[in-house]
Symmetry: C2
Subunit: 333 residues, 2 copies
């Protein structure tokens, strides 16, 4: 075990240091609950409400964790993102007074593109599946001397996301929960890995488990086979925030050592969980940010214990998609 | 001044005692913000997010404050409410293991009626404007020996709502705001009066100001004339939560001594503020719970200072009304 830990890119000390940098800049988001959700799941459900984080998703934690460490004479930052990491990094750069270039897929939700631009970033669009975003990012970073902030495979970013786990450990203890699955909406694994490390140190009875959309369950399959597996699909899910091709080189070993088996949900279950969060928590979720709650509510047989914790990771949803979720499910939740 | 205070029904000590009773039962709701809202208002906007309170509105505070003081051999409680007080009292009674009877207008939002029933209360409907809810309540209370919990003109309830003000005082200080108007969605004045008392003691640079819907601005007019004025209208606003006929006998003297002038908003402005809170805060507001934010965003000339605090009081909105708000305003916020 000690040997494994030495090879990992992030330690609990990195997460604690990130928490000190985030103090006064990021929000300590609440843990919400409703007896109506408990009834659906058949157990107590606690929801960590990261849509209430600065920029509407947990991504500001990693963005600020990384950007706050840069020297003030830095030429600026660059990031590639479908939208939430984009906004998190753009906001962090704005708060530090640094220029930001964000490379986004042209099919990202309009709301995310507009917000990223409104936060002062230069937005560069690329065609998902046709152009190589890494190549575009590397070239721009080189040409302009920008610091690249990767969305998940960056130790500073994983440490920032891990601060969510420190808060979960405290809030679960306050709620009297010391044994539970902590289900996390999972793309590349930055949030899942960071939370897993924080829980290992602060709440060893809590176990992180990734939740992914159908056809984008690369992390679940990678955990099963013990090696990094990629998704065949490149688009077509409503869960734009977590349609990542494969777990990261830094995140995967951490998840492999610490997280429980992956859970898979459908787009329809995510829409239904969005309606449930609207009605019962007064919280706006985006489809990808609802995957963990969907797993907690609609796959109760796949987790154990008297309580389950779902990390709601973001709420940057286009209004049409949200209205559609309410039209289909608000009367049946 | 000392003479005035002696005649008031609630003191800061009552509010502090209520805060101790609420500890571990009610939530400390977050204070949210967004640079996009600051831009609309032209000043810094802080939003106290009471839709995230237990049962989706601040009313659980007053409900629990009152119900937690009853003897355990009490025969049960009775309340009349268009919905939020109903849910707050029903939940408090359920947590104490006491029966609850709730008298609701038959035109209350279906969601509120269903939720109140689902929380275990017996729901009695009456025709708003035709039947006298006070008479119905008094009769049932007498017949069954139930303890009446009034929605605002009850010292225990005002003290409970005032705990919102204690939190605002702390959170404003943390945010570096010590001079600001605190705009409060106002029906009978329980929340406004409670907050005003808490701010007087804990944050004297913050001033409570009631916000009301057009045609239901009884508190604004009462503050102007110095006597209790009633509304001519009895229905027809989207702001069901705050369509109260007149300020209370207990709440009015407190508001008269402490609160600033009233603000009036239109239903359309409330719908627009709901869309803004959806997009920028990821928070669900009901029309009546959006009145304060609407005043902060769309009547910037009517408050002073570098910052404004809006108390978002509840989020129990029927999905159709919410969808309508997004259809009309989500693209233009």
């Amino acid at each position: 075990m000690a040997k494994d830990k030495v090879t990992e890119a992030v330690t609990i000390d990195d997460i604690r240091a990130a928490a000190r940098r985030l103090d006064g800049h990021a929000r300590r988001t609440p843990m919400l609950s409703s007896p109506f959700l408990d009834e659906i799941s058949g157990r107590r459900v606690l929801v960590k409400a990261e849509p209430l984080q600065v920029t509407g998703s947990f991504k500001f934690r990693g963005g600020w964790s990384a950007v706050s460490q840069l020297p003030s004479d830095c030429a600026g930052v660059i990031a590639f993102s479908s939208g939430n990491h984009a906004q998190g990094v753009a906001m962090a750069a704005k708060m530090r007074g640094l220029p930001a270039v964000i490379i986004m897929p042209s099919d990202a939700p309009q709301l995310k593109i507009r917000n990223t631009h409104a936060l002062g970033a230069e937005v560069v669009l690329y065609a998902r599946g046709k152009e190589d975003r890494d190549e575009i990012g590397d070239r721009l970073a080189r040409e302009r001397g920008l610091e690249l902030i990767k969305p998940f495979d960056d130790a500073r970013v994983i440490a920032g996301q891990g601060t969510t786990g420190l808060e979960i450990a405290e809030q679960a203890a306050e709620a009297g929960v010391d044994q539970a699955d902590v289900i996390v909406c999972c793309g590349g694994g930055g949030l899942t890995a960071g939370i897993a490390l924080a829980l290992e140190a602060e709440a060893p009875g809590l176990r992180a488990r990734p939740a992914e959309p159908e056809r984008f369950d690369d992390v679940r399959r990678s955990l099963e086979t013990g090696q990094i597996e990629r998704n065949a699909a490149e688009g077509g899910s409503l869960c734009d925030a977590i349609m990542t091709p494969a777990p990261g080189k830094l995140t995967f070993p951490i998840m492999q050592r610490l997280s429980g088996p992956g859970l898979v949900v459908t787009d329809e279950e995510c829409l239904q969980a969005m309606a449930a969060a609207f009605l019962r928590l007064k919280l706006v979720l985006e489809p990808g940010g609802a995957a963990a709650l969907a797993a907690a509510l609609y796959h109760p047989g796949e987790s154990e214990g008297d309580a389950v914790i779902a990390v709601a990771s973001g709420g940057n949803v286009d209004p049409r998609v949200f209205q559609d979720a309410l039209t289909r499910y608000a009367d049946s939740v």
